[in-house]
């Protein structure tokens, strides 16, 4: 039997050595990991705006960087939807900021092809991070992507899958009067005959809380950008055709 002092000292020593080695590893890899996260964010902004890999194609970090710089313009909006040019994207944390909001605009050959906004909020276990993109009309959903979450794989984790995100495309975030209604993730399937179907998508079975969370924070985040999108809609109003 060893003395208590030995047991304590030995256990402490093992812990300290392991802690030291891990912190060395972490500090060595930190830069690479952060770059990966940044690239992944950009990749998801691109995907939400319908710039995506072909089947079987894999983008390198450089490709993502090139596409992002070529097609995406970043602007920062204030709470009235005005462009504030003296604030840069690095100064804004979309998760907590309530005064400045980043906006990612897809510009191809000088034409605006869509707007992406960060959407962030609680699911069941974790905060979900993603991008929601609207068409240049400011009404129709162009795409949605989630890039970070810790929901249950196979249940809430399905938010990142194409079958789920694909259902958002073509849905509308305002009603006929132009009121913001956001997108509603249902419990179960959308009834195509319903008069509400234009802003509803199929839910994820077994993930009611995640689905509800998505519905809630999409509304909250769209509200922040409402002053900006209202202006956009006014400018493009005559082009919109309402179909049922």
């Amino acid at each position: 039997m060893r003395s208590n002092t030995y047991v304590l000292l030995f256990t402490a020593l093992v812990t300290v050595i392991l802690g030291f080695l891990l912190s060395v590893t972490y500090s060595q890899l930190k830069e690479l990991q952060e770059e990966n996260v940044a690239v992944d964010m950009r990749k998801n902004i691109l995907r939400s705006l319908d710039i995506r890999e072909e089947e079987g194609e894999i983008w390198t970090n450089e490709t993502v960087q090139y596409l992002y710089e070529t097609f995406i313009r970043t602007t920062i909006l204030d709470s009235d939807g005005r462009d504030v040019s003296d604030v840069t994207i690095e100064m804004v944390d979309a998760e907590v900021d309530t005064t400045y909001f980043p906006l990612f605009t897809k510009v191809v050959n000088g034409d605006i092809e869509g707007y992406a906004i960060p959407v962030i909020g609680r699911g069941l276990w974790s905060t979900l991070y993603g991008y929601l993109a609207l068409e240049p009309d400011g009404i129709t959903v162009k795409g949605i992507q989630f890039y970070k979450h810790k929901e249950t794989p196979g249940l809430g984790g399905e938010v990142e899958k194409d079958w789920f995100t694909g259902n958002f495309i073509g849905k509308r975030v305002t009603d006929e009067e132009g009121q913001l209604v956001s997108i509603q993730v249902l419990r179960g399937k959308v009834d195509p005959g319903s008069s509400e179907a234009y802003h509803q998508v199929d839910g994820i079975s077994g993930a009611t809380v995640t689905s509800k969370g998505v519905t809630n924070f999409l509304m909250d985040d769209l509200k922040k950008y409402e002053p900006f999108f209202q202006k956009i809609r006014k400018d493009t109003a005559e082009e919109i055709v309402w179909r049922y």
Partner: protein, 208 residues
């Protein structure tokens, strides 16, 4: 050479078939169900587990005479947790997409009964070389099953192997459909159950 003696060979070979941690001892099932949707995931997971198991076994065997009996589980667990965190960091830095797909299951290697089990039952009593081989053998035994399960799940569930399309387009055009069940956890249960059965038929461990 001592490493190639009969005892050493059986340290690696036994867990592969006769005493396979999944097939015979039915350990580590949780992650075996989760990361076997695609072969590439299973391969990376195997590599991670082989690394963690052989390293944790080696380190623990190396310091086994210094480890106080009363806190041995804590010490084993911190070494295992340290190695797993190390692997997780490496994946996040060099294989970001893979690390995103494997999500929590890399971290959960810590709680994989095989790792703890081999550390306490084998590495605490055996020499460095043997413990290393035992760790590697068990890691490969676990991984082998993972890869076999993922082979069937990816082939039948998605029609691909290692991400490449193998079921030809004309098959789909003639009414072939992917078996969606295989992508879900019950699919893994069924494949795993069949493998356990097959393994018991082939390996015939004495106490079964």
């Amino acid at each position: 050479m001592a490493l190639l003696s009969k005892a050493s060979r059986s340290a690696v070979a036994d867990p592969l078939l006769k005493n396979n941690p999944i097939g015979v001892q039915v350990l580590g099932i949780c992650s075996a169900l989760a990361v076997t949707i695609r072969v590439d995931q299973a391969v990376i997971m195997t590599a991670a587990v082989v690394f963690v198991l052989s390293m944790s076994n080696s380190i623990i065997s190396l310091i086994r005479s210094f480890i106080p009996n009363r806190t041995r589980i804590i010490i084993q667990l911190s070494i295992i947790a340290g190695l797993v965190t190390f692997i997780d960091e490496i994946l996040q830095a060099y294989m970001y997409d893979m690390s995103k797909q494997l999500t929590v299951f890399v971290g959960l290697i810590i709680t994989n009964c095989i790792v703890m089990g081999r550390a306490d039952a084998f590495a605490m009593q055996n020499s460095l070389g043997k413990s290393f081989l035992d760790g590697m053998g068990n890691g490969l035994g676990y991984g082998g099953i993972l890869i076999v399960v993922s082979f069937f799940r990816e082939l039948l569930g998605s029609g691909t192997l290692y991400g490449y399309q193998v079921v030809p387009q004309w098959a789909y055009e003639n009414g072939y459909e992917n078996l969606g069940l295989m992508v879900l956890s019950p699919g893994a249960f069924i494949v795993l159950g069949l493998i356990v059965w097959l393994q018991l038929q082939v390996a015939k461990p004495e106490d079964h």
